[in-house]
Symmetry: C2
């Protein structure tokens, strides 16, 4: 059973034209993004910090789980458990260049997830989440690496947030100009943007005899914008 | 007189290895980014929303001004004036693929600005800010467009935040692996990422006789990652 999006007032998109109601749109944004922006409140002040994420649609939280991690020394991560946090993922797909400044915009897909941050303490779930975090960067890479040591695990905070309370906004397509501006001779259109990878760069300390693994090559060739978005 | 970064405890980077102390690093991130993530607190809950921004290093606020705008109907913008807000700009430069999951990371540059949001009400400053917002997308384009109408101005909220209280973090370069993992035969390196533009797409309603303007062509050809970052 998959619930629809926007189950609460605070994730209901007020201005309705860009809101998406299908949970699949959330999954698509989660799949295509690489980083999220985590919002926490510290001493009444919002902090917004970029961080890696991973997700598990079959995770233990209602409607699935988004996982974040960081050093136990990172203030925002340590502050977050039991707090209500906001996890936002944004994909920028293009600049929308209208005939007036007012109608300039961007094509984008964004997901906003709000929920209580749960500190992941179960050893199995922690290991699972940390593998997902590596595989979200390069699918398949976790299998090629050694496991985490006890010392590494002790230094790592893992947070989980339910995917239940979420909203997704999408803007795509042409600028929408005022009728009166159409004949003014100003060019209008979209400058499509995407994230591309250059050739993988081996570390200075990497054995030059080692080939770039197939999973890294595949990641470099994957366009990081879904075909449906522009 | 340019002040150094991190003038307050809440923008001081706790884990010091990636912190930058030069204000020029802030300017570089502001110049290279296209969107920011605005953090506000609504009913005690953090909200993080992607939005366009512009900046004016000679703006009226201490150490310069970052400008945001949106519809007066947008809840986060309307809520923000007189609140302390957080404006975060993140540029993702690469995936850092280490020999262990623990040392996986990303190369990035991020700026966090915290300040009291000021609703811009002065007509001249509002117009200036709205021109900067267009020119931040495509430098020079504001000059090619008509001015805002009174109705458009009435529908637009413009916010200003001082650039005074800010921090910048940068991670660049190779993964840093444990000594013991160096000889294990695992490939390690960086997958560099950047934002690239595809060819500009004229609107369906754009006169096919209109050439793509030089400013749009120049924007499409500008790499959106500074050469110094990878």
């Amino acid at each position: 059973m998959v619930t629809p999006l926007s189950p609460s007032r605070r994730t209901t998109v007020v201005r309705g034209d860009r809101a998406q109601s299908e949970r699949q749109h959330l999954f698509d944004v989660l799949a295509d993004g690489l980083i999220c922006h985590l919002g926490v409140v510290i001493d009444g002040v919002p902090r917004v910090l970029p961080t890696a994420y991973a997700y598990d649609l079959d995770g233990p939280d209602r409607d699935g789980t988004v996982y974040l991690h960081g050093s136990v020394a990172a203030r925002s991560l340590v502050t977050a458990p039991a707090q209500t946090v906001c996890v936002t993922i944004t994909l920028l797909d293009g600049l929308v260049l209208a005939r007036s400044g007012f109608h300039h915009s961007m094509n984008y897909r964004s997901a906003v997830v709000i929920g209580t941050a749960r500190a992941v303490t179960d050893a199995g779930e922690r290991e699972h989440a940390l593998r997902l975090l590596v595989d979200h960067l390069v699918p398949g890479r976790a299998d090629t690496l050694r496991g985490h040591t006890r010392k590494e695990l002790a230094a790592t905070e893992v947070l989980a947030v339910s995917l239940h309370e979420a909203s997704v906004k999408v803007r795509a397509g042409d600028p929408i100009d005022d009728e009166a501006d159409l004949g003014t001779g100003v060019w209008a259109g979209v400058l499509p943007l995407r994230v591309t990878a250059d050739d993988p760069l081996p570390s200075a300390d990497c054995d030059p005899g080692l080939a770039v693994p197939a999973d890294v090559v595949a990641r470099a060739q994957t366009s990081m914008r879904s075909a449906s978005s522009s």
